[in-house]
Symmetry: D2
Subunit: 292 residues, 4 copies
């Protein structure tokens, strides 16, 4: 079930996302803990990685009849789940996540995200758009979202990033979305928002690294072109993959056509990845993700 | 997790598929019942239809440490689940399902199923292929599967169906697959194997009924052609949909091309539907299916 | 080859789109006529419908060295092609087509078209957006395009359509795009812009007519949801199909999810259809299209 | 139009595939040459690579009224096309191409090709299946095709390849299909059948080289898995790409699932590539292909 059916649920829903070493009784224990405090599970997905011996679960529940405070419930989870060596994350739909979008000069991804946000597809707040260029001010304006420019050159990157981070912290940012932001983030930045930065980049088979990937893809005559959304890690473009999409291309596609098709793939893939994150569907596990 | 990872599980796995009116505590109760008897859940998917107020769940568990007999466990489920007004189905992977395939003269679907079976993709036994024509005897032979012909004409249908049904019953058939079987089954036949007959048919947008659907699709200039797999019901081709697939077509595709592309869609869609059934992933709910 | 490679062509390109009863020598005659006047063919696609005995061709050529005036060249075509009983259309890329977009309250399609236009994906002018509601004025504003409202009620439709048509004529409109325009156009309107109105509507397998198609698709449990772009004809939603696209859906998709996925399909399909029209890739042939 | 419509053409069709430096008048010259000798063009596709200044065209024509012998027509082409510095290939549908399939132990690709051949999807003769293992003898038998085994070990490769090549030559082989043949062909072999060997291999994003690609893809958590068909070159798996296909995968897919999905992609992609070659749709141009 998806989150709009929640309209049928009076009050709010909560989502609990857990991972831990596998052992017997985990599902019963988690379900019981929710039931004990009046919460009905709306849907749950669970996965066991038998090779790694790991347990993963997402539980979405009706939180409207929670009979203790949310803080108390979190304390309870902390105490009761500690014996399972469990990583867990609890969120409530009425406590909307806050995402900040970083852009440079390309407008297709930012437009797509803002339009989906306005159409109600992305259940979050977008308090700010950050850029290293003034070019997309008008896009932010037309959606009524503040736009701040931090120009970055060879000398000021660390300093500018510090300001950006201060701003992100101040805004209580839950997720940073790199919507074709053409600056490489420093390891410091990435570490501060570890597992909370989503990036999008082009993809093809074979993959091309370095400059002008579409030119390389064209020269190689690839028949598929696409995009990969992943969490940013210090190892550029090598972070855990969230989603991927491709489309067919042919000799009939010029480099400009490949770029155009790539834009469409980037829009679709980035939006799906951000949506999955907002709906607490993703658990990072080493270099991989579980996307429920 | 998918069923081949079970190789890592010592012993066998079981699958419990349940549906009932939604209420609190269902997941905890089910999980507890499994845990109480030594069974570790490998994976579970759950869905609540909030509009209909219905609860659906699939639980796959390690059955190797079940501490009572399987029959006793079934009795226990019957007794304990009755209070929830629950429909449930329990199966064990080492008790392989038995499917009988019905064919006429088209060989693409039967070949595909038999090849996938031999490659280990379809975890079942295929004790028999039934046909109203002798044409595909050689296919059955090359895979070492018995082939029986029941010619059907205007006068003998009821009689021949009775023989077919007797045979199906005798073989302990769990699923009947209509792999392009060109006879309409009688309501009697369908009722006897209700929710246990999978059919495949062509699909296009718009859909065409009656004779020569590919000719109609060609005349209409459709740009997509595909196939739908569904459970057979008395209302022909209107049963609960299990899976659908389409592919692009164009003015450049002749009727014969549409037929060829349709064959590919039929193969893929039918195989996926049969596999989902064999893995106990499907719950029929009114005219719809939940496919976990 | 696609039109952006024209950047490599000095000067402008022309496109000649022809259809006629098939006979020998057509390709040679057309190619010779272009060669005779200094024009190099950049690419050509040709199709023969053997059943109908019809010939279709699209020729794109470098028009920069045309050695007579464009008007003279058109006269020449008229005279020389008359003996082949040929329908033909000649256009030049530097004479941009003018499209007028009609909208109501949904903004996803209009946004997508305007964004693609700004990104250079749609090679045309958009002199006007027409609507029966004031709601999307802000979208038009943010792209700097005039927006005119013609409210339509039970009594004034014919009269309002006359005004709309006068405006379309005055603007030299080559194509009318119904980007989720929720009014049924009168036969008069459709006849005036015959083969020059593109519409988009939802599609599923089976197809549902009447109100609330997504509710019907949900109730029926379809596993694919999509969109069809077609030329508008008096017989609503039955015009020649230009393009279709679908995506997978499941029990996990609420009606709202289906609507969301449908929006994505509508955006993609409508944009592709408009682009194909602008690039003179489409020939209408009876109820069908040839899309090169 | 596709080749089955030829049923409507009395007699046979021919296909002329040409590439040469671009210049004016090529299309007219080619079309005229066909018209001069009584041949009606059924369809043609043409592409100009403006960057490289290259011209490519495929012409399919009704050869039934060719007024000179085929050999004379070839001589004529040789003489008349020499001034254009043109590479060209002429084939007639009634002179069926002969393909030899090389396999090892995997049966999914060979089965798929043989089934499609029997269904009439691959218009060719298959005089022989070659293998380095006896395992798939039964598959060849069930389709009535000769099967020859050339076991290959560290010491005898050159010698065995010589025998294979002698056999291929003797059979008048037009195309060698590596249907999961697990031996690396020597540069000598590849050179002898240059541009006439099609190979299929797994693909994912990112691509993995070396052993156990599906394990690597699993470890990396890719969300798409697929296959690439290409012409074999001395530089392993780097030859000109003919076709590619992918499908979605997730955390829920075990390595065995990835292998299963990969098999489906390999079957589809290899069959499409072989079909395109048989229909003379492919022109190799450097590291790329034009696939009409």
């Amino acid at each position: 079930m998806s989150n709009k059916e929640e309209d049928s649920v009076t009050g709010s829903t909560g989502t609990l996302l857990v991972s831990c070493p596998d052992r017997k009784g985990l599902i019963a224990a988690l379900a019981q803990m929710l039931a004990d405090h009046g919460m009905n599970i709306i849907d749950t997905q669970q996965h066991t990685d038998l090779t790694a011996g790991m347990f993963f679960q997402r539980l979405r529940f009706d939180a409207s009849e929670l009979d203790i405070s949310r803080d108390d419930f979190k304390d309870l989870l902390r105490i009761k789940l500690s014996r399972f060596d469990m990583d867990w994350r609890l969120s409530f739909r009425d406590e909307k996540k806050r995402i900040v979008i970083l852009v440079s000069k390309f407008e297709h991804c930012i437009y797509d995200l803002l339009l989906r946000h306005r159409l109600g597809e992305l259940d979050c707040e977008i308090p700010l758009i950050l850029s290293n260029h003034p070019d997309l001010q008008h896009v932010a304006d037309s959606f009524g979202i503040p736009y701040r420019v931090f120009p970055i050159d060879r000398t000021n990157k660390a300093e500018q990033e510090e300001k950006q981070l201060a701003l992100l912290d101040e805004l209580g940012t839950d997720l940073v979305v790199l919507a074709r932001y053409m600056q490489v983030l420093s390891p410091t930045f990435i570490e501060r928002y570890r597992e909370r930065i989503i990036n999008i980049h082009h993809s093809s088979l074979p993959a091309f690294v370095g400059a002008r990937p579409y030119h390389q893809a064209y020269e190689r005559g690839v028949k598929l072109i696409g995009a990969t959304a992943h969490y940013a890690t210090a190892d550029l473009d090598q972070g855990p993959i969230i989603d991927q999409e491709v489309t067919h291309c042919s000799h009939d596609d010029s480099i400009e056509d490949l770029v155009r098709k790539g834009r469409d793939m980037e829009r679709i893939t980035l939006a799906r990845a951000v949506r999955a994150h907002l709906e607490d569907r993703i658990i990072i596990f080493g270099r991989r993700t579980v996307v429920f």
